[in-house]
């Protein structure tokens, strides 16, 4: 398989975690943000939505983070609190139905220095640094993605 401009690390639909029950959304949100900070990612939020509804609030939070590993490779990780439904305050946090999706990918040549010479870009990715991509970058981002997955599951009290 040839290496292009980006390489997805997650399964095609991302790592999906579904959970129904008591969720401490505040601490989960803080823990994910801290994880990004601890791992030197630049963090930003693509979306932060809260809808106030009689049956409980609906939350959508799309967290994004990127880290420039070197001048050529950047790691992008996204965590979507993709609709947490029927959020109601209870004793230990909130109750609700959550669907959380984790995605990770590598971006090559993020400064677009090779944009004008795609042939050389192809050669560089697929011959010169291909081994490094699979033995160095890939395991690194894969482990980080799984580490984040563990953290979220731990916060939700799920089996890891």
């Amino acid at each position: 398989m040839s290496v292009g401009k980006e390489m997805k690390i997650h399964p095609s639909k991302g790592i999906v975690i579904r959970y129904k029950g008591i969720i401490d959304i505040d601490s989960l949100y803080k823990d994910v943000k801290s994880w990004f900070k601890k791992n030197d990612y630049d963090y930003f939020e693509k979306e932060n939505t809260e809808k106030n509804k009689p049956q409980g609030n609906t939350l959508i939070i799309k967290m994004r983070a990127e880290r420039k590993v070197d001048d050529y490779v950047r790691f992008d990780i996204g965590v979507d609190f993709d609709e947490i439904l029927r959020v109601k305050k209870v004793n230990k946090g909130y109750s609700g139905d959550a669907r959380i999706i984790i995605r990770a990918e590598m971006i090559f040549d993020y400064y677009n220095n090779w944009k004008t010479i795609p042939f050389l870009f192809y050669i560089y990715n697929n011959l010169i640094i291909k081994k490094k991509i699979y033995t160095f970058y890939f395991p690194k981002i894969y482990n980080e993605m799984m580490d984040l997955n563990s953290l979220i599951k731990k916060d939700l009290g799920l089996i890891r």
């Binding site: 930003f44 693509k46 932060n48 939505t49 809260e50 809808k51 509804k53 939070i61």
Partner: protein
Amino acid sequence: MKIEILKLQKIKWEGITDFPELYKYMKLHLEDIGYADERNLETRYIERAKPEGKKQLEISWHAVKKKSDFFVFNIDTNFLILGMSDTELQEEGIKRKMQKGVFEVRVSSYIKSTDKWDELKGLQKMYERMIMKKRIDELIKELYEKSTAYFSYIKTFLGLRD
């Protein structure tokens, strides 16, 4: 040259808030950090009357700060308020007029080069680009911090997680 930092990041709140207060505080925040003044911020303000006394608002702001002869910081804010109506809320025994509706705010930030930068030629351009590379990284960091702080400020006002 345009370097994008935040790309149409969205904050959405469906419920009750004090919208005039939010509007005022956001404006003051941009003024405080030196990105805007009373006259040059708002580029669009559309208010449409809807049935049942509701309103739809579309507001755009373009805030700028000149960083050097070569670069300008930009923060764009777009409001889209749907189905807004006045409502009264009792807060600590005091009646307070608030607004109910769907409040959406989108924030973008980017660094733009000036004509002076774009007009550099030959060796001078190469030299400037080489010595400016580190400086550009610092500018990116600075605008990232300013614009994410502004984004957090809006979230905190609306009572969203930050």
